[in-house]
Amino acid sequence: MRLTTVFALAAASAIFCGPIFSQTPAPADSAAKTLSTRVVAYQVEAKLDPTKHTIAASETLTYRNLTGQPQQTFPFHLYLNAFQPQSTFMTEVRRSGTRGNGPDTDWDPKHFGSITVDKLEVEGAGDLTNKMQFIQPDDHNTDDHTVVQITLPKPIAPGASVEFHIVFHDVLPKVVERTGYAHDFDMVGQWFPKVGVWWKNTWNCHQFHASTEFFADFGTFDVKITVPQNEIVGAGGDLVSTATNSDGTKTLTYHSEDVHDFSWTASPSFTVVEDSWTGSQGPVKIHLLVSPGHMSSAQRYLTAVKGTLRLFDEWYGPYPYDRITMVDPPHGGGDAGGMEYPTLITLGTAVHMPQGVLAPEVVTEHEFGHQYWYGMVATNEFEEAWLDEGINSYTEVKVMDALYGKNTSVLNFPFAQMGESGMQQISYLDDPDKDPISRYAWQFYNSNSYGGITYGKTATMLITLEKVLGEDTLRQALHTYFMRYRFTHPTGEDFLKTIEEVSGKNLRWYFNQAVYGTQVLDYSIGDAHSDPLKWWDTSAHGSKKNDKDEIYRTYVTILRKGDFQFPVDLDVKFDDGSTAAEHWDGQDRWVRYQYDRKAKITSAQIDAHNQMTMDRDYFNNGYTEDANPRAAHKLRNIWVFASEWLSQLLAWLT
């Protein structure tokens, strides 16, 4: 090949292959020694009117074109416009519900919110307000205004920056989904025009759906928030300064870097609790804002977050920020709870939360876990929600079990217990076979399936994977995945390949079923019994003398009732104390094992260590020769009592 041709090919590769690699793990800006590649720099000034729950704001966004291509068109998220009657979000909620809201939820006008861009100027291009165009890349619902696109007169060259000056105002909804107000509490999330992500060689800027969350580039945020002086503010950033204004307001300035979002909250009714924790990266300030009536949960929140910080630091990687803000929404504002933003999380509790119900701990652990899986490993929550929600649910199981006990990490009463693993399992098994894990978040059958599969199935899938790899190997794989892909936008394949790389195993047979398929795993003991070998010789049976020498033929059959194929371990016990262990590849529909020995079977058990949490019905995983009706009697007691109590209650009418 001629040298000039070689050079031409090399140049072409550099030009055309550059963008393809732009979304793979990119090194941080080495010159500034930042943690992430800072694509965006937001400077926002906002003023909150807590009476009307509106925000007047202006934003300057400096966007660095690191796409490797000239860029002329830029899409922006306007998430708050989802809270309009004809939006895609609202349409989908009416069809299939969403977290905390069923399809028939009454929507009060107070629940409507919006974000309006009053002016959009581009440095060097002037006022382009009239050039803004709402687009609907997902469903062509022209009434949905959650994505707006602007086309510049001239493209921005690769490596160059462009400055957008946007004046906008928000109307916060009465909180029904993450953002909004309740009484004098304002939770301000997804509140500013946010530019989309250049992803896989195109803009990725989805509409806001009932089951989707968010996706954005890393950068810096400098935000000035003006509120009345009596408001207590919490934000996802370091407080740089506070200035008192002559009109009875104050302006707080926050700075945050190497994050991809900025949220904040304000309420005059918070009680502030300060604490700290020190990890491998130094001290972390814990800034807890507690709502009235919830102080009894404050220590529970703090204990949970510190335990989580410690274990994440030990197992997966360091927490690099110097703060975490924890927001406890007030009663009536629970829909703002259970949410994550970079270095700010919202929690949830109740006035009389019993110690035996570990809801405050679970939500704290889960939302903090998102600082890793979403905050730093910034996956695309629209298209691969399982990468943050699912992995986070798995690490939730590990952390909660370690902190609060394997069987008591969710419920801990003398009369009833529940562990995290069980909770994830029942979430998944509620609707196990309609959607694969890998489905786009807004394309699930309904919100129930989305929740059960994205959270529950992913968690149980990873727990079941421990059976193949071992817990330590999987932990090492997650550590490697975090350290390699933090501050970038990895894909599902990046995650799965990391597991294969660390374990040294080809796991496509598993991932094709568990991640990309909808097969349900269900193995059962089909049959287990012992029969005298010489069953026809009646003189050989019955006498004590002959029993010792009697040889029994024992059969144990395992059935594969589901379509998911998985290796199965069988443990058989005999009445002379001997045991037998088998390993079956689980491929066929059944397998039968036969034993001839001077003993009868007492039990046969597959998955003796309860690692196959994906198994739909573990009650058929084990068989005991001797029937023990104790469990059924216990349930009968409860049911009979419930029936009698209902009868007595209704008999009051007589």
Partner: protein, 312 residues
Amino acid sequence: MAGTNRGTFFSGAGLVWKWQRLVWWLFAVCLIFGFFSTHEMTERAYSLLNNSVAAQRLVNGFDFSAFVTLQQLPDSPLEIQQHNIAHFSLLFVVFMLFATGGILAAYVLGEKPTTTTFFEAAGHHFWRFFRLLIYLVVVLLPIAGLAAASNAMYTHIEDQSISPYRGDHFVEAAAVIILLLLIIVRVWFDMAQVIAVADDEKKMHRALRRAFTLFRRNFFSLLWIYLRVSIISWLFFAIGLHIWMFRLNPQSVVAAFLVSQLMILTWVGTRLWQRASEAIWYRNYQATQAPAPAWAPAPAPMYIPTAAEPQP
């Protein structure tokens, strides 16, 4: 006042104890209905759990996720038979409507009930008590309306107040008021039933009117008869529930069954205690309301001859 409340309190208890077979009989019927209503789901539970190793999760402690998993199975025990519990409960209501006549007859008349007299009285009053039930449903409608209004008010308070306590306190107050209203209605209708039996009153609207007047004039007395026994009943129920949930070994089946059934038995017994106390109260009340004797001419004065008068 008709007798002392203290008197009716202990007399009522004594009467229930003396004829305790009524208590046992009602309890037995309730228990049998309970078993029948849960029979199929229990059988399904037996088939799933008797030879299952995983069943231990429900025995050693109580793994709630295992319980939910059991219900999530395609042919789960609870899924099969939920409606049976409702049906048998309604059947029990009809049974109680029937039996109340016989029970009250025994308590009002103060005579030991024989099988014949019991069922005669039960049959005699059944249709009357059915009509009374319809009146009760109508009377309960405004209370249901009040409950709905309370709920709306609660929502409004929750909307306005950031403090969670205001709404909670309101709900507690509303619950007490509604409970009190329900108790008042129940006592009123209890007395209507007593009057229907004691005076063989055929017209239920008349029985209700008389009961209302009676109740109005002896409000606190009658209310207290009902309330104090209710308090005892609730106390026993709470203690029983506490023992069952927190004190018993999780693996216990027999002890748990005995405790749960003792709670039901106490519930039945205290309800009959209320009926007996009301019946005795009314009997005493009737006794103090005995009518004045009818007018009779005064006897003619007796002539007593003196010694000076000649003898006839």
